[in-house]
Symmetry: C2
Subunit: 459 residues, 2 copies
């Protein structure tokens, strides 16, 4: 069967044997990649041929973008066919009037960000893996990142999409318009379905005007009620200019500042720290509003102390506390979680998780920060020194983190997706009928279950 | 069968006979409504019972919101069951911290706008039918309206959704988060599918901060190239503060000003007029940027003449030219179209339509304005005095308007949807494979084809 497949797919670049195992499984897993072959299509027609052939032969296909996903979505077995979009990496067009970019799926996010910036525009999608992740992967997983409060997730940036279905048919809707109500919006099905329904090959992405000015402040607060009060105030006073509202719990702030040996910009004793940032297209457009907001928040005692970045370097120093959580990862094992919930429930939720972890082990440690304007928290849970990094211990920690989400309509994945890692927990966030509907869609569109089987759910 | 249905659905409010025909078919069609009965559920459980019973009995169900849609989606026949959401009109909650509203589908848009404003927030969805249309209808049709350039379409405002499937199952995902990647985002299937896949019963809608200041200007331009130059400049200088960029072709401007007997704020001789508006959350935040933009555009001769509204009354007078197209409707018949395309193609497209109409009749008239920041044009086509308002003549005009969209990846419906009116033209904007995929979804989710059959496409 394999020889027949090779025959049918001759002419398409292929890696085998040592070329496969020379690759790491993913950014997170350094073990050698396993696959029968990695196909490297150069065109949508190639992708179509590969999928049609695999579908006919009933062969499983694992789709690879930049392999930086955090939910174990790309692991393959020795018998699998891997389809990597890395050679479909053309930026076909950047339209400065229509404010769109036309790209192939394999373009690296940072490459596109730079090309768009060179054209005097701004691609709002940004996340830590920017140097490795691909636009196709961003679309397949509905990536989030650091600009969601202002610009939305990847779904909001996709105007046109080309997808190859499991049977090789090409569903092309390469449209450039914000408004298009001609029948069902099929692209929505594929965005965020983690490569289980089709392979994204090309896209048209919405661009934004370049940002010419940013204002950044760090504020210390004494209660969670003050945090939500500041969020409401910031939204009211800054509107669309508000681009970041990042909350750090006090122990996170202390762990990072101490661990990195930083001169903490604000006293370490506060229970909460908020990093707040605005952007404007015209120099100075929001400076006054930003200053007025901070003054108002301090006068009314919502904010206890604060500091405003006076230079790009000071801005970077503030952001480093939020970004550089390396000290928190030192005590092994540490499990990273990505949950979302109504902003009003966050404080109570974190208390619950903390208590549950303490029951698990006296010396368990939890560090938390969140894009709380988006409803998104990231948790770093260390189950205590005595704990082995065994699957059972990990599962116990997952239970502490995921179970309390059930009663507050929270999500087990805000932005990372389900992959293989969280499928056991999907039912915390989705009803039986919802999961049945997902499976029905999968079976209808991929009846032979060849595309990323076992990702999101098992059939 | 009907008696059996009545029996099963006893206890749910129902209109019959004269109570049915006392209603108009729709806002656009005053003829008496036809239906076997209109059911008026008061709860999601009622909707579930109605659909399950109709599905078991193989009865067609036509779903009614405010019946203001522009694509003939609500017409029913004497044997149909109509399901009207009008009694499910509770605003369950407005959360001033989470910035969401929890509503039943039958809430009138304007009622919700007002309640949200009373809570000190802003619901960005707005359109002409605000006093009659419902949130459920806005969601089912993915409504657009006047704030899309800044806030997106209805799809972008829906965080949580509850839908009843044709077999009566309730698919409830009443989430409040901007970020939720727990499996397929099923709500996207139902938003914009025009009631053919499920009945929207409740929703959680994203709210925005109140707007405290608007700046409005009218500019005259001498070429379409200048129009796109001004659009690029306005986006670059104003960013998210830009909320409207409405283009009127010269003959539209003249027809409205002359027909209404208005003192035209700018000379009537220009080929293009742009209404440009910004908003800010803080008093004065964007005034300077707005003035600087207009000065720059006039200095560089992109704008030939301009006027800035100095009061709310002057603002209304400018908007009236854009909004009050009643004079254009005087020469009967006039057909209204709602198309979208890349902004760079609009000028050439309008030339093509104009030429095609002239071939149809020497005295055919075309008036055009558009939300061009959204890629959306509205066309008013009068096929000439000699023309009867016959279906054939209408079809000929449709051909003039829709056929040129084929080659520019345009859409036959930007915001109004397909309904029954445009299904013949769906193939201009969607490929055979796309339409096949839509039908496959419909057959999978509504195997008995009971929900709004004949809307979007025929099976």
């Amino acid at each position: 069967m394999s020889d027949a497949l090779m025959e049918v797919l001759s002419g398409i670049d292929r890696l085998e044997g040592a070329e496969v195992s020379a690759r790491a499984t993913s950014y997170w897993d350094a073990s050698p990649m396993e696959a029968e072959a990695i196909y490297l299509p150069r065109s949508t027609a190639d992708v179509s041929r590969i999928l049609a052939a695999c579908n006919d032969a009933g062969r499983k296909v694992v789709v690879h973008g930049g392999r930086t996903g955090c939910a174990d979505g790309v692991a393959s077995n020795a018998g699998d066919i891997v389809l990597s979009l890395e050679k479909m990496n053309a930026i076909e067009e950047i339209d400065p009037i229509g404010h769109v970019a036309v790209v192939e799926a394999g373009v690296i996010l940072e490459t596109l960000q730079d090309a768009v910036a060179d054209a005097g525009l701004f691609l709002p999608m940004d996340l830590g893996a920017r140097g490795s992740c691909t636009i196709g992967g961003n679309i397949a997983t509905n990536a989030g990142g650091v600009n969601v409060i202002r610009y939305g997730m990847m779904r909001n940036l996709v105007l046109g999409l080309e997808v190859v279905l499991p049977d090789g048919r090409v569903l092309s809707s390469m449209k450039r318009m914000l408004k298009d109500n001609a029948g069902y919006d099929l692209k929505q099905l594929f965005i965020g379905s983690e490569g289980t329904l089709g392979v994204v090959t090309r896209a048209i992405v919405k661009l934004e005007p370049a940002v010419s000015q940013r204002e950044t402040a760090l504020a210390a607060l004494s209660s969670y009620a003050d945090v939500t009060a500041l969020l409401s105030l910031a939204k009211a006073r800054l509107g669309a200019a508000l681009t970041s509202f990042e909350l750090m719990w006090g122990d996170y702030y202390r762990a990072v500042c101490d661990g990195l040996g930083l001169r903490a910009p604000l006293d370490r004793a506060h229970p909460f720290y908020v990093l707040i940032e605005t952007e404007a297209n015209a120099q100075g457009a929001n400076s006054e509003a930003f200053m007025a907001l901070l003054e108002e928040a301090m006068t009314s005692s919502v904010v206890k102390d604060g500091v405003i970045a006076q230079s790009e370097q000071e801005r970077r120093e503030i952001w480093r506390i939020r970004d550089d959580f390396e000290p928190i990862l030192r005590e092994k094992p540490v499990y990273l979680f990505d949950v979302s919930m109504p902003v009003t429930d966050m404080d109570g939720y974190i208390d619950k998780v903390r208590r549950a972890l303490t029951v698990l082990a006296d010396d368990a440690v939890l560090h938390v920060f969140g894009h709380i304007g988006d409803g998104n928290l990231h948790l770093f849970a260390h189950p205590g020194k005595g704990a082995a990094a065994a699957p059972e211990r990990r599962r116990a920690v997952e239970e502490c983190v995921y179970e309390p989400l059930r009663h507050i309509e929270g999500s087990v994945s805000a932005e990372h997706g389900i992959g293989r890692e969280k499928k056991e927990w999907l039912s915390v966030s989705r009803s039986e009928d919802e999961i049945a509907m997902m499976k029905m869609l999968k079976k209808s569109i991929d009846p032979n279950n060849i595309l990323n089987p076992g990702v999101v759910f098992d059939l």
